[in-house]
Symmetry: C2
DNA sequence: ATACTCGGAGAACGGTTGTTTACTGAATGG
DNA sequence: CCATTCAGTAAACAACCGTTCTCCGAGTAT
């Protein structure tokens, strides 16, 4: 089944990945719409024309970058929410997990936050699609909890989307704050999350 | 006191405003970091060098655009929150107001949403400063309400920030959805806001 | 061993960019 | 009325851009 890649195909994947890595590094201080094709190839050390062997243009590279960045995160949220503990514990764990991920791979999150509303339509749509998927996953995980008794699917999806948006917002705030302000951001993020959780607990009280 | 502007200074302000307007129009389909200085002057019909009479570069233009766009919105939120009616009514009014503003001036909100996490640092900071100011205004308005009895300043600011972020998120969602999906976005935005309001009502129940 | 595939190199293309320098002419103020 | 200020112009600069075309040489399959 695992057909060992030919040394040719392997090299191609290698330079392709090099292009993606270089682009991600360059995108730390600028946005995709201003990223030059030549800029990327120069950073990698290949001819500008080699770029076209892998992507149609910087927009296509951006889409690939989205899938690589967000694709590897699926299931992570579900795993967190599936763990045991009271709501306060899980809340802290969630925020802590985000904080650690952002610290470990700042460039990835910066890219997503930046291009979520950026100037390249295809990339925006790719991110939106992934985040919608996340929201559905969170909704599914929430549905399995006893606290969700009596909730309809639409409200669960609303809550899932709220959590996802909060996650992205927190990641972005962490990046803006830097290492010094991290503690403060985490504090506020926790508190916001707690407010939402309180709202969730009393959601069915109102008409 | 109101020293009538000389016809010279008036002309300068006029072309300056023309530059800002043209830039805002161009920024509907791209982001600031890819906006060319010449592109703007070409749209206005002036020489590229005239640009420097008004701004140091496109970044400075962006900052001016932020202040013009968000500066005119101060007090609006406070006015809404100060109106009477039960929380459900005010909630609907708030979302409706955002929806109407976004429909009336899409380019302004698109610009803010796009550059909030965009590639130009100075613009990011300008937006962040304005939004922080908004959050403080909302917090001050909330503090005057009877529902806020027992709340400390920090929690009020947290809640104000939550409302502001929700507002920006809603505006962005409206822009992404277009006229067709507007109703759906408004529905979800209202529901999210209601959840936060429920959480607010029971915030002091928990330790 | 031979023919083929194909990732990458190289050169050249027209076009655009930001910025500098020197200049014009109308509004301004004494 | 006359000297000065100054918003906007015109030309030129070197640097960079995306894209096309042609070619090479190592990997591949027969």
């Amino acid at each position: 089944m695992s057909h060992t890649l030919g040394i040719r195909q392997a090299q191609k994947l290698k330079t392709r990945q090099a292009l993606l890595d270089a682009a991600l590094r360059l995108l730390e201080h600028q946005s995709l719409s201003s990223l030059g094709l030549r800029e990327v190839t120069r950073a990698v050390g290949v001819a500008p024309t080699a770029f076209y062997r892998h992507f149609d243009g910087t927009a296509a590279l951006g889409v690939a970058l989205v899938e690589q960045t967000l694709g590897s995160l699926h299931g992570m949220i579900g795993a967190i929410l599936a763990e045991t503990g009271d709501s306060e514990e899980r809340l802290d764990r969630s925020v802590g997990l985000i904080s650690r991920h952002v610290t470990a791979q700042p460039a990835h999150f910066r890219f997503i936050a930046r291009e979520q509303h950026g100037g390249v339509g295809a990339v925006r749509e790719a991110i939106a699609a992934q985040l919608r998927l996340f929201a559905e996953e969170v909704a599914a995980a929430l549905a399995a909890e006893p606290e969700s008794a009596g909730w309809d699917a639409e409200d669960l999806l609303m809550l899932g989307g709220l959590y996802v948006d909060h996650m992205v917002l927190t990641a972005s705030a962490l990046l803006d704050a830097g290492p010094d302000g991290e503690q403060e951001v985490v504090r506020v993020a926790r508190r916001r999350l707690r407010l939402v959780t309180v709202g969730r607990a009393h959601w069915l009280d109102a008409p």
